[in-house]
C-alpha cells in the first residue's frame, strides 16, 4: 500500500504493516454485517495476539482461554460499534483484550495470590525476549524496547504485560508515583517514535 496515502499516518505505528491493518479494518466492517467467513479470517489473524497478551497478563492457560473466547465473541457482537476514524481494527481488538485481562486479574486475584504473581514478574526484559519469535514485528518491538531506559522499559512491561497498576509498579520499582507516570509516558513516546521510524 502506498505509504504516502493521506491516512497512512494513522497506521504508522501499528505492528502490522499498513496493508495488513487496512485489511483488518475491512474485515471488521464485514463482520459487523454478520459475515461469518470474514469473522473466521479475522479470528485467524487476531486470535494469536489476543490469546498471547491475555496469557501474558493472566498466566493461567485455561483462564486465558476463557477470557480470549469472551473477547473474540465481544468483537463479533459489537463489531458494528467499531469506528475506523478512531483507530485501527487491531488496536480496537487489542484494547478490548487487554482491558478484559486486567478486569479479570483485578476481580479474581486474591491478595496472597497477587503477591506470588508479583514475585514472578521481576524480569520483564527476559519475558519479552522469550515471547519474541522470529517475526519482524516482534523483532521491531524488541529493538524499540531495547532503546528505552531500564526504568522506562520495566515500567511499561510491568504495567502492560504484568497487568499491574502504576501504583503497584511504583512499589515494585521503589520509585515515586510521579516518576512511574512520567516514565511510562516518556517510554511510550519513545516507543511510538521508534516504531514509526522502522
Amino acid at each position: 500500500m502506498n505509504p504516502s496515502d493521506s491516512d497512512a499516518s494513522r497506521f504508522r505505528s501499528v505492528p502490522t504493516d499498513s496493508r495488513g491493518e487496512r485489511d483488518l479494518d475491512d474485515l471488521l466492517i464485514h463482520v459487523a454485517r454478520g459475515d461469518q467467513i470474514a469473522f473466521e479470517t479475522l479470528y485467524d489473524r487476531l486470535a494469536g495476539p489476543v490469546y498471547g497478551v491475555i496469557r501474558r497478563v493472566l498466566k493461567d492457560p485455561s483462564q486465558s482461554e476463557e477470557v480470549a473466547q469472551e473477547v473474540l465473541l465481544e468483537v463479533w457482537r459489537t463489531a458494528a460499534r467499531f469506528d475506523p476514524s478512531l483507530g485501527g481494527a487491531a488496536t480496537w481488538v487489542m484494547t478490548i483484550a487487554h482491558r478484559r485481562a486486567i478486569d479479570r486479574i483485578r476481580s479474581i486475584t486474591a491478595a496472597a495470590d497477587r503477591e506470588h504473581k508479583i514475585a514472578q514478574v521481576d524480569t520483564p526484559h527476559d519475558e519479552v525476549a522469550e515471547a519474541v519469535e522470529a517475526s519482524l514485528d516482534a523483532e521491531r518491538v524488541k529493538r524499540c524496547l531495547g532503546g528505552l531506559t531500564e526504568i522506562q522499559r520495566e515500567s511499561i512491561t510491568l504495567a502492560y504485560y504484568g497487568g499491574h497498576s502504576y501504583r503497584q509498579v511504583a512499589e515494585l520499582l521503589n520509585v515515586t508515583l510521579g516518576a512511574v507516570k512520567t516514565r511510562i509516558r516518556d517510554g511510550l513516546i519513545r516507543m511510538r517514535d521508534c516504531l514509526a521510524m522502522s
Binding site: 502490522t16 494469536g48 495476539p49 465481544e74 487489542m94 482491558r99
Partner: protein, 254 residues
Amino acid sequence: MRLFRRDLHSLSGAYALDALEAGAESERFARHLNRCPSCASEVREFREVATALAFAATTAPPPELRDRVLAAAALTRQLPPDVTSRARSHRARGRARARVPWLPWLSGVVATAAVVVAVLFGFAQAHTEQELNQARARNQAIALVLSAPQAKLLTHATTEGGIATVVLAADRHELVVTTNGLPALPAGKVYQLWLMGTTKTVSAGLLPAATSGQTTPVLASGVVQGDRLGLTIEPAPGTTHPTTTPILALPLPV
C-alpha cells in the same frame, strides 16, 4: 486531593496501558480526555504502541478455541450500530463496552444467547396471530434443547463451504441446527437434513432460506445412538432418501 491538569495529562501513558486503578482517578482522567483533544490523540497513539506489544506476545491459542468461538458467534446476535453516539468520544464508547456483561463460557450461556436468536428469528417472521403462536411453540421446543443441562455444541464446516452449528440434547434425543455461509442454491434445489443411522436414514426436514447467510434454527427429534447429522442438496421440495453425496456427515455423540 485535586490533581492539577498537568499531572492529569501525565497519566495518559498509564491510562492507555490500563494501569489506572478503577475509581476516582481513572474516571477523572476519562472526563479530562473529553475536554483535551491532544490527550485523546496521545492515548490513541499509545494504544497503537500497546497493540505492537500485544502482537509481540503472539501465542497460538489451543486449536479447539477456534471452533468454539465460531460456533458461539453463529449463535450470538450482534449489536446494531450505535447511531446515537457515533459522535461521542472514544473514551465513552470504551467504557460502555467494558461494562457490557456479555457472553459466554459455553455451557448454558451460549444456549441463552441462542434462545434469543431463535426467538427473534421466529417472531420476526410471524405475521399473523396463528403464526406467532406457532413461532412461540417452536421456540419453546428449541429453547428446551438449548437449555438442556447436558446440551453439547457441535460445529462443522460443510464440504461446500459454510458452517453447521448443532446443539445436541442427547437426553432429549433432540437437536437444533443452524447454518451460516452455505452457498446459495439454484432454483429448484433445497438443502435437506438427515439423521443417518447405522440401519436407516430419515429426513430431518429442509433448511429454511438463509437471511444474511444464516438459517433459522431447525429442530430435529428422534436422534438415536450411532446417528450422524447429514446435509444434502436435493431437488425441491425434498426427497425421502438422500440422492446426492452428503456435504456434511456429523457424528452425534448420543
